[in-house]
Amino acid sequence: MRPFQYTKAETAQAALQAQATQTSYLGGGTNLVDLMKEDVARPERLIDVSSLQYDQVSSNENGGLSLGAMMSNAETANHVDIRKKYPLLSMAMLSAATPQIRNMATNGGNLLQRTRCPYFFETSMPCNKREPGSGCGARNGMNALHAIFGYSDSCIATHPSDMCVALAAIGAQVEVIGENGKSRKIDFSDFHRLPGDQPEKDTVLEAGELITAIHLDAPVFADNYYYLKIRERSSYAFALISVAAGFQLNGGTITKAGLAMGGVAHKPWKLREAEKFLKGKAPKLEHFEQAAEIEMAEAKPFKDNEYKVEMGKKAIVRALTQAYERTA
């Protein structure tokens, strides 16, 4: 690991003032410290923000709840109100990593975790995300784990988070504060970027901005929800494909649906067409299958990840069926 200066920020103001080039904020460190050991991340300064007081769940003006950015994933997933009102979020978060890692990882950090693309991790390989301009090893390389939606010529990596897939399905805003101490809110679906020709930028955060909270919309899908995670072993692995599915029922009709996929794009992939299609329909298998067809028609796989198209369809149907069976 390369040398770095370490400082602990006692207040957000101190953290913001200490910002300079080649500086990273340190939360739980589960991703950043690992990347530093691999020589993928090379910050010269670390500002430890883990003990800033953004560590609560509180009510917000949307009629929903706000999650403090420094709260651990474990505390959040097991918070009484989150389990009751946003079980889809709890389920997704509990599918991630291991208890040890969930105890360390913070909510803000979860949003900022980097891709698990092997070309990004292997410093002897080209990667536009790690080293802009060096090329993409995955495009014509081993791309079984890569994107089928929204990628570009310069990057085909996927976003690894489970939490973010659920947040995309539920609806949320990310609150950040910038160098001038002013806060702004970013709609969750705008927070992560598609790669375009700047894959090194995962999010729309500007230099020095610090995530303080994630605001959830009013509770939805508390009865019909399911987070389906398909992986190469049944625990402690990243998703090949994951689907967060939730809907609200009224008199046998779906009044609102929330759907998002993980493991298929540079960001949590919101299934807008499927959501639209399901609205006003009965929760029946044929409707679930049609919704899946509509959404997956746009997929453009590579040589090794064609399986993701069929798997994606099946995963959407399965997640919706499981969500329906929750209350049945």
Partner: protein
């Protein structure tokens, strides 16, 4: 007799300090020791002697800790408590908690497996929560309370989880064992507090004192990889401590009839 004297010399040359101490602690001297060594294999030794071992034999700190290097880059001063004892250290900012424990405090119970958060061998408890010491920078531990495998035994008595691991043979090479045990001990508390997992049926219902099924135990222990595959025995050991009911090992010897059948197959 001459032959035996020769054997005795050889025995002393072959045994490590730890092994000699174990045999001394067991009260085995001279000819008794020789007879004993001839009769028992190492594997049966661990089972037979489980109740006789004291915790200091199983995990004890190094007597001398390495001295501080002459030059430190980006030196940070950090003070935290380990197993109830406060330590003040000056470290390179890059030092992980795992390295601080092993290299600076001589607590070599916590093991360095992958050093990348993928195996769980370095699991310790920080402020009561199980965490990975390899991905924790020591500098971030100011005023924290760390518990390692060395801190689980009390007054010379092993923690019930340590005893259960021995009884149920929850390890083979034993390298992952300290992390497995720390993880298991933390899990007892998580179950008591009703924390859910991905396989918990309906976690909207809030309860405490969760009774853990085998599937639950496996999911919750999945952050601790054991390449020998002692998982079945680990689950058994955990179940015994979790339920408070004594369980017998689930394996048994094949009957004569089964042996015959197997030979003829």
């Amino acid at each position: 007799m001459k032959e035996f004297d020769h054997w005795d010399e050889q025995e002393h040359a072959d045994l490590t300090e730890d092994e000699k101490q174990i045999l001394d602690d067991l009260g085995l001297q001279g000819s008794t020791r020789r007879k004993f060594l001839k009769q028992v294999s190492a594997a049966s030794l661990s089972l037979w002697a489980a109740s006789t071992f004291s915790s200091t034999l199983l995990a004890h700190p190094m007597k001398e800790t390495p001295t501080k290097p002459a030059f430190l880059q980006n030196e940070v001063a950090v003070s935290f408590s380990v197993n109830g004892e406060t330590h003040q250290l000056n470290l390179d900012s890059r030092t992980s908690l795992l390295d601080a424990l092993r290299e600076h405090l001589g607590l070599t119970g916590s093991k360095k497996g992958c050093d990348h958060g993928q195996c769980g061998a370095c699991t310790v408890m920080i402020n009561g929560k199980r965490k990975l010491s390899c991905l924790t920078l020591a500098a971030t531990c100011e005023s924290h309370e760390v518990t390692t495998i060395e801190g689980l035994a009390k007054n010379g008595n092993m923690h019930p989880m340590q005893q259960a691991f021995l009884k149920h043979d929850g390890f083979q090479c034993g390298y992952c064992t300290p992390g497995q045990i720390c993880s298991s001990v933390a899990l007892l508390k998580e179950a008591e507090e009703g924390e859910a997992s991905y396989v918990t049926e309906d976690f909207r219902k809030i309860s405490s004192n969760l009774e853990l099924s085998e599937e639950e135990i496996r999911e919750r222990m999945s952050g601790n990889i054991c390449r020998c595959g002692a998982y079945n025995n680990i689950v058994q050991a955990f179940r015994e401590v979790h339920s408070g009911k004594e369980e017998m090992p689930s394996w048994e010897f094949a009957t004569e009839e089964q042996m015959k059948k197997a030979k003829n197959a």
